[in-house]
Symmetry: C2
Subunit: 543 residues, 2 copies
Amino acid sequence: MQGMMMNRPLSIIDILRYASETHPRGEIVSVRTEGDVHRTNYRETMGRVGQLAHALKAMGIEKGDRVATLAWNGYRHFELYYAISGIGAVCHTINPRLSAEQLIYITHHAEDRVLFVDTTFVPLIEALADKLPPNMRYVLMTDREHMPDSKVFFHCYEELLEGCPAEYDWPTVPEDSAAGLCYTSGTTGHPKGVLYSQRSTVLHAFTIAVTQDGSLKEASRLLPVVPLFHVNAWGLPYAAPLTGACLIFPGPAMDGKSLYDLMEREKVFSAWGVPTIWLGLLGEIKERGRNPEGFGEVIIGGSAAPRSMIEAFEKSGVTVCHAWGMTEMSPVGTDGGLSSDMKALPFDDQIKLKMTQGRRVFGVDLKIVDDAGNRLPHDGVAVGELFVRGNAIASGYFNNEEASKAAVDPEGWFGTGDIASIDADGFLRLQDRAKDLIKSGGEWISSIDLENIVMAHPDVASCAVIAVPHPKWDERPLLCVVPAGERKPPKEEMDKMLLEHVAKWQLPDDVVYLDALPLTATGKVSKLTLRQQFADYKLPDAV
Amino acid sequence: MQGMMMNRPLSIIDILRYASETHPRGEIVSVRTEGDVHRTNYRETMGRVGQLAHALKAMGIEKGDRVATLAWNGYRHFELYYAISGIGAVCHTINPRLSAEQLIYITHHAEDRVLFVDTTFVPLIEALADKLPPNMRYVLMTDREHMPDSKVFFHCYEELLEGCPAEYDWPTVPEDSAAGLCYTSGTTGHPKGVLYSQRSTVLHAFTIAVTQDGSLKEASRLLPVVPLFHVNAWGLPYAAPLTGACLIFPGPAMDGKSLYDLMEREKVFSAWGVPTIWLGLLGEIKERGRNPEGFGEVIIGGSAAPRSMIEAFEKSGVTVCHAWGMTEMSPVGTDGGLSSDMKALPFDDQIKLKMTQGRRVFGVDLKIVDDAGNRLPHDGVAVGELFVRGNAIASGYFNNEEASKAAVDPEGWFGTGDIASIDADGFLRLQDRAKDLIKSGGEWISSIDLENIVMAHPDVASCAVIAVPHPKWDERPLLCVVPAGERKPPKEEMDKMLLEHVAKWQLPDDVVYLDALPLTATGKVSKLTLRQQFADYKLPDAV
Ligand SMILES: Nc1ncnc2c1ncn2[C@@H]1O[C@H](COP(=O)(O)OP(=O)(O)OP(=O)(O)O)[C@@H](O)[C@H]1O
Ligand SMILES: Nc1ncnc2c1ncn2[C@@H]1O[C@H](COP(=O)(O)OP(=O)(O)OP(=O)(O)O)[C@@H](O)[C@H]1O
Ligand SMILES: [Mg+2]
Ligand SMILES: [Mg+2]
C-alpha cells in the first residue's frame, strides 16, 4: 500500500533557496585569485546564482549538458555548483592537478560544452586548447578588469552575469537526474567518471549535517581545504548552507602559513582536508607556538591520518575527526566522531579510536568479504575487501560499461578496493588499498600500519612503504623516508619503533631517503609512482 | 540524463539500525504505567524490535496491514513504531482522548487488525470491544505479572516477544509505501486519516534534525511530552535516534509536578509540547522558585504560544522555540529558532520574533493566497490562507476521496485552513484558523491576537476568544476567561490592556468566566465546543 504524501523531487537548488531565506546573512568568504578577500552571503549568492542560470541558458546549455569547472575554492565556483545543477545540467568539476593527457581525455569523455576557469589556469588552457573539444567555450571566472590578453577567447564571468535578472524560474527535474560529475584520480588507467544525482547529493548533505553536529550548524565557521574540484569538497557546499554554517574558501593558497593567517583572521572553527595539508599547518603552528584563534576541530580524510598528527592536534585542544570516503561515495563513508562516553576515556584510548577510520554514517552500509565474496565477521580481527551500499554511492561509471560492470558485486554492493577490518563497535580500520598491500610469502603486510609508526620519529617529515619484488618472498616492504632536517634517521632507530608494534618479519627490508614524496592529483602520496621508481630496486638480501 | 548512483529506498528501520550501531548506549527512559521507571538504550531496543517483528509476523501481519496502538509515551510504544513499519505494515497511532464514537469510527475505517494497548486503557477497551472491528486482536503492553483479569482477551506483550530471535531479516519496501497512519482530531466531522510513507518519515526526521541543531545531537536529553499517539510526537522518535539524542518518555504523567520531577531527575535539556502542558510546568516552577536542573530549551507548538509564556521561560534562561505544524505535515512546518544575529537583539525584539510561528523548515514551501487563490506578497502585511507543499505533506486522506479532493489546490498545494501573514524575513504569523476567525462587519478579528494579550493579565489562568452571532455585525468576539484565583478580572482591565495593541472595534463585546476551557483530544482549547456552548449567547448591545 502506498502512503498518501506528496512526492517532490529532492533538488539541490532547494538547499540554497532555503539558506537564502533562513540563513540570509550566512557568510561566504573567499580568497580570490585576484589577490584580495571577497565576502558575500547566502542571500546575495542566491541572486547571483539566478543570474548565472540565465547566462548558462543564454549560452545554450540544456538539461543534462555537462558544464565543466577548473577552479579553486571560491564563491564563483560555489555559484557554479548551484546554477549548473539548478537548471538541470551537470556540473563537471575538473582537478587541475591531473596530467595534461588526463585533462584532455576527460573533457572529451565528458563532452563538456563550456569550461569555467580561474585566472590561474589561463596558461594551462592556452597550452591545451588545441586538444580540448573543438566546440568548447571558455569563461574566465573574473571581472573585466582582470581579463588577460590571450590567444584563447575567454568570456568574462562577471560580464555574463551583468544585466541578467536575479530571479530564475527553476525547473523541476526528476530527483535521479544527473547533477554532478567527478572523475577519480585515475591512479590506474584512465580516470573514471562518477555521476552524482540530485537525490544522492541532497541525501549526502543531510547525512553529513546530522553526523557532524558539532560544526555543521548555524553560524559555525568552516574551512573546506578539500577542493571544490574534487568530490564536492566532501559535501560542504551543500551541508553548510543546509545548516546555516559559514564557508571560508582558501582559494589557491593552501600552504601552512596562508592557511594559518586565514584561519586566524576568519576565526575558523572547523577545517577539512587531507593529511598532507595538515602537515603544513602543524609546521606553522609549531613555529608560532599556538593555534589560530577559534580553531577547534579538524576533519582528516583522503588518506590515513598518522598517529603523530592526531596527537599533535588533540594535545593542542583541537578535536580530530578522522573520516574515510571515496569519489564514488560522494564521498563520506565513515566518520570518526566519538560518542560522549568515549570522550571520557583516557587520552591514549581515544587516540587509538581516532586512528581508525571511524564508523559508518547513516545511509551507508559496510561489509567486508574474503576472496570468494563470503562475508567476514565484524570482530576487529577478520580482514577483507570492503564493499559499500547506499544512496550516495556510485552504481557504475559514466559512459564506461566495462568499469561499471566491474564496480558492483552480484548483491549490488560497490567494491572499494580497500582492505579493512570492522570491529564490534563498528569502527573501520583500513589496512591498505588492495593494490598497495605487500604480499610477503603469502602473508599481508599493511603499509599504512608501518607508515603510521615511522611518522612518529622526530626526524621523519613524511614516509611511505611500498612493495618491491623479491625473488623468495614475492614482495617485501621498502621504506621511503623524507627527513625532517639534515639528519637521516638510521634504519635501526625506525626498526626499534616498529618492533614495539609489529612482528620482526614485517620490518622493511631497506630504507631510501628522498627529498619529497610524489603526490597524486588529490594530494595523496602516489605509491604508483614510487613503485615504478623502485621497480628494479635490489633489496639487500635479494641480490 | 540519469545520475549513476544507487537507489536504495529510504527506510525507517534503517534509522534504528544506525542508532543501535553508532549510538548503542543512547538512552530511552520511560515512566511506565506499571508505576516504575524503565531504562534501555538503542542497542537493546533494536533487539527487542526484531523480536516484536517476529511476533507480528506470527500474528499474521502482512505488508500494508494496519496495526493500531493506544498508548502513552514509552519504550514499548517506540518499539511498535519501528517493528510495525519495519515489516512493511502501517503503524496506526490512536489518540485515546478521542470520543468513543470517534475511536469506533477510526478503527473500522482503518481496518485495524491488532490493537496494542497500555494498561491504562483496559477499561476503555472493555467498554468498546463490542463495537470495535470483530476480528480485532488485543495485546496488552505489559508483562505477565501485570496482566489484569478482563472479559476481553488480551495477549501479553512481553510474552509475545519471549523466545523470538532478536535478529530479523528486514524486508526492502518501496520508499513510498505507507508506514504510519494518524487521524486528525476531527474538530469538524469525522477524523481524517493521514498516511505517512517510509520516505516522508525519513525525510522529515532529517529535516528536524538539521533544524533543531541545538538539541538534536548525540547524548542530548529530550522530553517528548507531545504524544506518540498523535503526529509521531513531532518526529522525535525518528530524529532522536538519527542523531543519537536520548529520549525521556513521561508515560501518562503530564501534570506540572510529575514533569518537573522527571525533568530534574533525568536532566532533561529540551522539552517538546503544547502550551497547555507548559502552563502546568510553569506553575510548578513558580512554586519551587527555580527551573529543573539542566533545562535549557522548550519547543512549543500545536497552538499559539502566548507572550506571557514565552517571556516566563526566556526570563528564566530557557530558550523558547515556537513552532507550527499539522498532522498533515508529519507535522513540522515552521520553526522559531533565531539566527545568531537575532539572538543579539534587545529582549523585547526577540520576544516579538518568538511570538511568530517562525520560519519554514527545509523541504516545506509556504504560500498565502486570497479567496480567489491568487498569491499574496510575503510582506508581513498581507493576510491570506496558508498553503504548503513538501515531501512530508499529505497529498490526500486515507480512503476518503471527498476530503482528498478538497485538500489540495490545482497547483498541488495543501490548504492548511490557517490564516496567516509571512514577512520578508520568512517569519510566519498565524492569525487564526479560518474557522475560528471572527468576521465583524466584513472585517476580520484575530482571536489569537486578543488571547495573547489577555493571557498576560495576572488574574487570568487561560482564555479563549470566540465568535458569537450578531444581528448587525454578523459576528462579534466573546472573551471566555478562566480566572487564576478567586478574583474575576473585570472587563475594563482587560480592555485597557487590549487597547494598547488593537483598535477599539476589535474589543470583545463581553466576558464570561469559566472554571476551565474545554480541550480537544490533542490538548488544545476546543473552540468548537465553546462556540456550541455560546451559540445562543446574547451580547449586551445585540439584544
Ligand atoms: N581516512 C582514510 N584513511 C586511509 N585511506 C583513505 C582514507 N580516506 C580515503 N582513503 C583512501 O582514498 C580512497 C578514495 O580516494 P579518492 O576517491 O579521492 O581517489 P583515489 O581512490 O585516490 O583515486 P583512484 O580511484 O582514481 O585511484 C579510498 O578508497 C582509500 O583508499
Ligand atoms: N504554533 C502554533 N500557533 C498557532 N496555531 C498552531 C500552532 N501549531 C499548530 N497550530 C494549529 O494546529 C493545527 C494543526 O493541529 P493538528 O493537526 O494537531 O490537529 P487539528 O488541526 O487541531 O485537528 P483537526 O484538523 O481534526 O481539526 C494547525 O492547522 C494550526 O491551526
Ligand atoms: Mg579510488
Ligand atoms: Mg487540522
